[in-house]
Amino acid sequence: MSFLQIDKVCKSFGPINVLRDISIDVEEGGFLVLVGPSGCGKSTLLNTIAGLEKLTTGEIRIEGNVIDDLAPADRNIAMVFQSYALYPNMNVGQNISFGLEMRGMPKEERDAKVAEVAKTLQIEHLLDRKPGQLSGGQRQRVAMGRALVRNPKLFLFDEPLSNLDAKLRVDMRTEIKRMHQTFGSTIVYVTHDQIEAMTLGTRIAVLKDGIVQQYGTPAEIYNDPSNMFVADFMGSPAMNLIPATVNGNRVEMTRADGAPLVLSFDKLPATVSARNGKEVMVGIRPEAITDAAGRGGDKCIQAACRIDVVEPAGADIYAITVLGGKEVVTRLHQDWPGMANQSAELLFNLEKIVFFDPQSGERLR
């Protein structure tokens, strides 16, 4: 049985349905990331798990017990907030121990626990400071300390890194991952940053308009997106989505100069071949279109394309061409010699290509 079960959860505010029939299971020690654009319902879902908002229908269970009627404090859940939500009138030590105090733990015991957690997080020297005197990273640690000290069954994180600068964000990301590995805690983590989702999660749920678009491992989400929204949202730069026409076993798209680019497959998925003569959407990630210097492989097709813009990014070069009337990002090796406004030979990796229905956006398998 799963550790955390979100079972057919719906939530509406008046006529607005924020969550629609959400079902997600998380195993003990799992790290679930809820990711999606703002307004997708991810924070609402987190709040219903925390008990800060009531769900309209459905059930949430921890270890098989329904928790819907329990007060937030009685759910044995800890939460780290986006703004850290440190009590401004209390010092760091009091902030960490407040939850224990509310549970009636004697002072000596509390002090011992606080000391232990402070040691783990290396914030012992900050215990007497007020939150206003701390840096962003330090506040983040204190917020985590406040969650850790209660030794809860489940940790919730609500976009905890979005208030940090870029470098600190990467450091804290690693730290959270290390904490997860060390303590083996079960975590539900909300973010709008797909890189955070990929790097942290053991499972990712992509949400949009209150609906789970896809639930799976990071690799599944990345390589096998179930619709155009997930394909576009996850990965940076995003997956290229190119309008193309099915013609037998071939898929054709137009280049910038009007000449067709033909991708011949050994076998197309049945749903794609069924659309003979009609349009499909071809999904191909930038790294699946590379320069000829790469190791081609049998399943590749080489074609000359005109390069519009070249964006060196250090380890790679992103080059942009136009296919099917859309800008297409390709990821080339850093020693690629080409230049903008010239033609270049590009290799398309057919094994990495996926197809979508251009109308519904659903995956064609």
Binding site: D69, L70, A71, D74
Partner: protein, 297 residues
């Protein structure tokens, strides 16, 4: 303790507790404000005189109210007083705020001096100005003693001019406050906009007339609402300054209501004048509050 309650009941208690806490205040407001408004509204339709009576007589009190010369005087006075009070306070407040905004040395001393009258009771203000404007004791006398024999300033004794002395005293009391509102508004304008205007070649005059003053529109509105409702409610100041006189020359709706209700034993007419006052204020305040509350959604 908490845990001994069944989950559902506990959850219900948790849910209603905040409303329970709010309810005494809501009850007081509903009874003492809205209940009383209804009661006074009802009285205005009865033949109440010295004591409340519950015999309805339709709109007779309103008809009698509008037939009273004193009530018409009170409304005319309110119009004169209200318009001048609002205009002068706003203008003076704006000018002083702009002047004070010119990196003035000693702003820290001047600002509190302009504002302190707001801390005084209207009774104190009235007492001070009554004396100051008294021809035999105050300004006129002083000017005579200083050798300006022909100086004459006896408005407070003049039936036609007395209402303007109320304006003078009221402006003295409130204009500093309006100044503070405008100053806060000026200081709140994004400095980048001002820099951009300067880059565009705006001089000091056009900076104020074209860029800053138009941005103070919400402050004008707030000032208008505050001053208008103060004007309609004005009571203490008139009592202390002129006591409605000379004669009934400085009668205002507030003093009219009080004297008709409590000294002339015409409670029904008094109640109907109070209803008219409420209607005047509501017509200004309700749209304002509605807009304000809607914006913050």
């Amino acid at each position: 303790m908490q845990h001994s309650l069944p989950g559902k009941a506990e959850a219900t208690l948790r849910e209603i507790l905040p409303r329970l806490v709010l309810s005494p205040s809501l009850f007081l407001i509903l009874l003492f404000v809205y209940g009383f408004i209804l009661y006074t509204g009802y009285l205005s339709l009865t033949d109440s005189r010295m004591l409340p009576s519950y015999d309805l007589q339709g709109l007779e009190n309103y008809a009698r109210l509008w037939g009273q010369r004193n009530w018409i005087t009170a409304l005319q006075n309110l119009a004169i007083f209200g318009i001048l009070y609002i205009l002068i306070c706003s203008l003076l407040g704006l000018v002083l705020a702009i002047f004070l905004d010119q990196k003035i040395r000693g702003e820290g001393i001047l600002r509190p001096i302009y504002l302190y009258p707001m801390a005084l009771s209207f009774i104190v203000t009235g007492t001070a100005w009554k004396w100051f404007l008294d021809p035999g004791l105050g300004l006129e006398n002083t000017m005579h003693l200083w050798g300006w024999e022909s100086f004459s300033f006896d408005w407070i004794k003049d039936r036609n001019m007395a209402i303007y002395t109320v304006v003078i005293a009221a402006v003295w009391q409130s204009s500093g406050f309006v100044m503070a509102m405008f100053l806060a508004g000026l200081r709140g304008i994004d400095s980048e906009i001002l820099k951009a205007a300067q880059m565009d070649g705006a001089g000091r005059w056009s900076l104020y007339t074209r860029i800053m003053i138009p941005q103070l529109r919400p402050v004008f509105l707030s000032a208008f609402v505050v001053l208008a409702h103060l004007a309609i409610k004005a009571y203490d100041l008139v009592i202390a300054l002129t006591n409605g006189g000379p004669g009934r020359a400085t009668e205002l709706p507030a003093t009219f209501m009080y004297s008709y209700t409590f000294t002339r034993n015409q409670m029904g007419v008094g109640a109907s004048s109070a209803v008219i006052m409420l209607a005047m204020i509501a017509s200004i305040i309700v749209p304002y509050l509605y807009a304000e509350l809607r914006e913050r959604r």
